[in-house]
Subunit: 409 residues, 2 copies
Amino acid sequence: MFKKFQVEDLVQETDSKIVMLVMDGVGDIPHPDYDFKTPLEAAKTPNMDKLTEKSVLGRIVPVHYGITPGSGPGHLGLFGYDPRNYTLGRGVMEALGLDIQMFPSDVAARGNFVTMDKNGIILNRRGGKGEEARLTTEESTERVKLLSEKVKKILSIEILLTPGLDHRFVAIFRGREIRANMTDADPQQTGKPISQIRALDSNSQISAQIANEFILRANKVLADFEYGNALVLRGFSKRPNWPTMKQRFKLDCCAIAEYPMYRGIAQILGMDKLAASSGAEEAFKTYVKNHDKYNFFFIHIKKTDSYGESGLFEEKVKVIEDVDSALPIILDKMPDTLVITGDHSTPVYMKGHSWHPVPILIHSDYCGTDQTKRFTENECNIGGLSTFPARHMMNLALANAMKLEKYGA
Amino acid sequence: MFKKFQVEDLVQETDSKIVMLVMDGVGDIPHPDYDFKTPLEAAKTPNMDKLTEKSVLGRIVPVHYGITPGSGPGHLGLFGYDPRNYTLGRGVMEALGLDIQMFPSDVAARGNFVTMDKNGIILNRRGGKGEEARLTTEESTERVKLLSEKVKKILSIEILLTPGLDHRFVAIFRGREIRANMTDADPQQTGKPISQIRALDSNSQISAQIANEFILRANKVLADFEYGNALVLRGFSKRPNWPTMKQRFKLDCCAIAEYPMYRGIAQILGMDKLAASSGAEEAFKTYVKNHDKYNFFFIHIKKTDSYGESGLFEEKVKVIEDVDSALPIILDKMPDTLVITGDHSTPVYMKGHSWHPVPILIHSDYCGTDQTKRFTENECNIGGLSTFPARHMMNLALANAMKLEKYGA
């Protein structure tokens, strides 16, 4: 019988430090309106250029070839959690994004306010008037407030609603007895009635009845509205109980991230969340301040992705340049391993996440070098790390920090 | 149900020849004291340069990204045996290294002479006087001799000891009844007593008692020494019974290797061991002499690794240059596939094995070419083979020798 190989068996606890600097969605493709350059190519990055000459470059495939990841899978891969196996439910992801604290037994669901006709047929999945309009955040908040007074509890299960952006909200079902293994109420198209929630195992049967009952009661309360007069739920899920990074890699980890979703993912993996900071400079200073307390620092820069999503080339370039300007703050307190990468690509030209492999740079005393001169997509193609699955990147981060024992004699 | 894909099903027996020239630990990283060159870059290699223009280059990952392999896993990967599944016990590896012939039922253990205080606490794991000193090979040999007279047998099980370097030795437990599935006696740290060996399955229970009894009796014999007055054992293991390369790939294999460990690994895979040879020239002549008798030749050059481990840059360069000078001996009797590579990297700067991917060159009539000009790490980064797991390399060697049938219609 073979003992399954796992890198965890080789990890030794050391004081050496790893910094993983994640520029969200940093990877890109050449933009026809900008001289067929990518933002990394267009950006002036003297500090990263200098670092590149002492580093190895490559590209990482976030989930799998051709697969466009969401933020959850993108980040899980970076931390060595295979995003094909470690999956976060939609409800949990939305709850993390709204900074909702979940108990281990809580079940979260993503909610939408919708507009329904008299026969119970969904006319508008974004809850606005007519077929196109979208419910505003204010209107959602108003409805959540009303529901929070009128439908607080079903049997022993509390229901807590939190409004999100526009027509979105999160429902938490709280109570030791609640289970999550059930189908969605959201038919995900107009012209259909709300789906009956069905249990997918025998332990979830009462839970499904409770969820259906909640929707029934809530929709009675909402029925008086002209639009946004019903709600649907999907992605019932519990907070996962995964091995932490401490347990797997013997690392004391912290997350320096501004946005709740990334802080939430980090927390699930057992990282401490440090004070939120806006912009690269503040984030890097937070690293320096906490240098002695941790040996793994996840630093998250959000705006590269935001501007990619908005199709704003120059703004994405500017964020990269800001990161580069602030980079000496890290370089002056050089960790044993410095990784610079992204969780996925967000090409400006595509205005959204994409499947393109993500540039990565690894620097350490033992990283070796290659012939690359700048941290760009094209240079990364010929770097010494080659192109490889993101989930193996933690191995390299650990190896470069001399945290892995030799395998076999 | 899917039938598992395996390359073995495509192998056809042919006369075509494969030479795998392994320069142990050849891969490296740029050295700051040598103009930031690697030994392969610094070496004058006119023959390999010329060959490179007619070959394809790449880099192989010995075990997994970031994993530093020992010699066993490094070589098993080269021969197409996934080193994450095919593992050799520590005892067996040590026995191979000392050229000890093992019967299939023998159990080998790695032994250390240690220095123990009166209360049975280990003070020095290398058996020397005080806390730092190391037992010499002569002192170990003396102790082994004594023990070989005093503790020859326990029940029906013979115990055969062979001294190794310094404080090391190998114990072979011989007898049909002995089993290997048991824990170590070596606590692997000072300040602790010798661990009781425990059986890990019910068939190994008597074996664990025998091993414990051996340690007890041996340590009574050793007790009169001032230091090196006890022994510990670890890595109990049997010679594996794996499918041979003949069985898997229909190859008649031989090993042209000087050092016992590599000859031993080759033997386990069913290779014939040819007369040991010192240096590249002799090794390559041995290939020519036996050209007609085999169709797979594993040629092992040890010193690239040795000088890497010792941190001797110029000496490592010299070994590479010697290999290059002698290379025409092979080229004049060109095999159908010639592979030049290493089992892992041993950067001079790190004085030890490392995780860095290993340069590889494949030449055949059908290999194609790429834009590379020299067999170096940087050129291999941009070669036509890309970077890939070492365990897939045998497929390419077989394919280039036209030994693989088409897969599917």
